[in-house]
Amino acid sequence: MMQQLLLQLAPPPAPTLDNFVPGRNAAALQVLRDIAAGSGNERFVYLWGEPGSGRTHLLRGLAQAARARNALYLDGIPENAVADDGVIAIDEVQRLGADDQIRLFDLYNRARAAGGALVASGDAAPAQLALRADLRSRLAWGLAFQLHPLSDAEKAAALRAHAHERALALPEDVIAYLLLHARRDMASLIAILDALDRHSLEQKRLITLPLVRSALEAMKDKPCSTP
């Protein structure tokens, strides 16, 4: 009961374009801002990168920023998905099954005809996606960006920003410790930080190195889930 309450009190901050730490991905971020604002030249964008490079964050952030343009974040394609002149953000295209691929193909063509925008993400460069050739070549048609994971310094900055948003005091030695001891993709780091936040509330202790050590030890057996 108590744990449930704590979870409800501390919802993770929603990913937005503003709280994305761009690192080397500033150009991609700018293009998405343009799409959200309905300005920019390019309506079709494809983002690829390894897990934790920020694909989902950017797509969710885009959907949030482009609310005024009827933006939709999709993971998988609902049968009745319609494209108009709005914004569609479709995540993890490499996982789409045969039927979903046809739906996305159709969605793409309609968005193109109706003046909409479609931003997709996947785990490989557009030409390397194991998808229908007609869909693959369409994804390669727009602007493609590889998302590069952050450097250690950028990750530290991202953790600081995340902690700041949650009004969490995060000592520098804890950040350094996390970067040396934890999985270093942003999704894992953020998940750990969120778990630490809950842990510190439950234990009524500040986040300090000793607390983090014991918490990471405790987490070792159960792999932390990514948000």
């Binding site: 150009a27 159709d106 063509n109 785990d123 390397q128 070549s137 602007l143 270093r184």
Partner: protein
């Protein structure tokens, strides 16, 4: 003369595939008014004329020389009926309407025209056929069946036909749609029980452009409806243009009666563009958006992106976006930088195992040395190199990396990273090794 032509026809019929013979040779007529000692052939249109001139005229002349035992000139001209066929069908001569409205309703993209369709060996026949059909819809080749791989310009071509027809006959009922859309129209008509309306609409078109007909595969109801629409349009001499990813005979999951009808008219293929054409495409696309592009840049893009036109266009967009974002002019170096990610075929997941194996092979040591306790330099240095690469190229935690190298401590990994970093600064060879390994691992 007549006897020669008949023998020539029968020989060509044996030499050529039936489809080619029927398309090109059969429509030719011998001009009866020609003085003796000459052979004059009449082609039904400019398209056939050009095609015969380029492909078959030499063969016909050789046959004539053989038949008459002396060289003889074979001339080609357009048949007079061509001019007579020009007036448009009655249904499309009503007063002109607003043009833009026509495009929108027709589902046509006004930017896809013949003017900006880049021609090369790969698509010249398809383009010529499209142009011919757009000038004489319903009377030259019906249906026109355009086949080829993805992103080669099939859609551009048929939009160009539609736009050209609308330009000449602003009131023509033109409709472009993707096969998937036709399928959903059928489904909707089925649910709303509005098949009469559906039929009325499709059967009333002057020009139907339908893209990616292979989508009809396995859709029986759609195929049946399309069969009726197709027959109605062809019988009324209304033009039908179809695109597909393969030759009519090879489409799977399509009824035989439809397939055979698809090859009634003319089937033309579009091949992937050769390099010169790719350069031209890149230049034309850049020109269209008023971007200045040096030839060497266009050449670089065309050399590295080979598969299809869409990818070519995507690569050009990346270069332009990179130049705008960084506020630098487009140069060869900038293009290389902009396309770096796109061109490096990323080995999707680089694993620690993979790094250990690659590094061991590179330095000619055993993989087991990656895990061993040996500390001699010839083993320890490669091991440090592999650890540094593992930190750089994977997202594993340092303790995990240490574990993978024979249960070493994370501080050992950290030490290895620092050692390699400082060695790379001092020794160009080690720096070089690092880059080579990084490149091999990234693919």
């Amino acid at each position: 003369m007549e006897r020669f032509w008949l023998s020539c026809l029968s020989r060509l019929e044996n030499e050529l595939p039936a489809q080619q013979f029927n398309t090109w040779i059969k429509p030719l007529r011998l001009d009866s008014k020609t003085p003796s000692g000459q052979i004059a052939l009449l082609a039904p249109n400019r398209f056939v004329l050009d095609w015969i001139k380029n492909r078959y005229l030499a063969r016909i002349e050789a046959m004539a020389a053989e038949y008459f035992s002396s060289p003889i000139r074979v001339s080609l001209a357009m048949a007079q009926t061509e001019a007579a066929a020009k007036p448009a069908p009655a249904s499309i001569t009503e007063p002109a309407r607003r043009r833009s409205g026509g495009h929108e309703k027709a589902g046509l993209i006004p930017e896809f025209t013949f003017d900006n369709f880049v021609i090369g060996k790969a698509n010249q026949l398809a383009r010529a056929a499209g142009l011919q059909v757009s000038e004489h819809p319903g009377t030259s080749y019906n249906p026109l069946f355009v086949y080829g791989g993805v992103g080669l310009g099939k859609t551009h071509l048929i939009h160009a036909v539609g736009n050209n027809v609308l330009a000449q006959h602003p009131t023509a009922k033109v409709r472009y749609l993707h096969a998937a859309q036709y399928i959903s129209d059928v489904v909707r008509a089925y649910h709303q029980k509005s098949f009469d309306e559906f039929k009325r609409y499709y059967h009333s078109l002057d020009l139907l452009l339908i893209d990616d007909i292979q989508f009809f595969s396995g859709k029986d109801r759609t195929q049946e409806e399309f069969f009726y629409a197709f027959n109605a349009l062809i019988e009324a001499h209304k033009q039908v243009i179809i695109t597909c990813d393969t030759y009519p005979k090879d489409i799977s999951g399509i009824e035989e009666r439809l397939k055979s009808r698809f090859s009634w008219g003319l089937s033309v293929g579009i091949e992937p563009p050769e390099q010169e054409m790719r350069v031209a495409i890149v230049q034309k696309k850049a020109e269209a958006i008023s971007v200045r592009l040096d030839e060497e840049v266009a050449f670089f893009i065309a050399k590295h992106i080979r598969s299809n036109v869409r990818e070519l266009e995507g690569a050009l967009k990346s270069v332009i976006a990179f130049s705008r974002f960084n506020g630098k002019d487009i140069s060869l170096d900038l293009a290389k930088e902009a396309l770096k990610d796109l061109l490096s075929v990323q080995n999707r997941q680089i694993s620690i195992d993979n790094i250990q194996k690659t590094v061991a092979e590179f330095y000619k040591i055993k993989i087991s040395d990656m895990h061993s306790k040996k500390r001699s330099r010839n083993v320890a240095r490669p091991r440090q190199m592999a650890m540094a690469l593992a930190k750089e190229l994977t997202q594993h935690s340092l303790p995990d990396i240490g574990d993978a190298f024979g249960n070493r401590d994370h501080t050992t990994v950290l030490h290895a990273c620092r050692t390699i970093a400082s060695l790379r600064e001092k020794h160009t060879e080690i720096n070089h090794d690092y880059h080579v390994l990084e490149q091999v691992l990234k693919g």
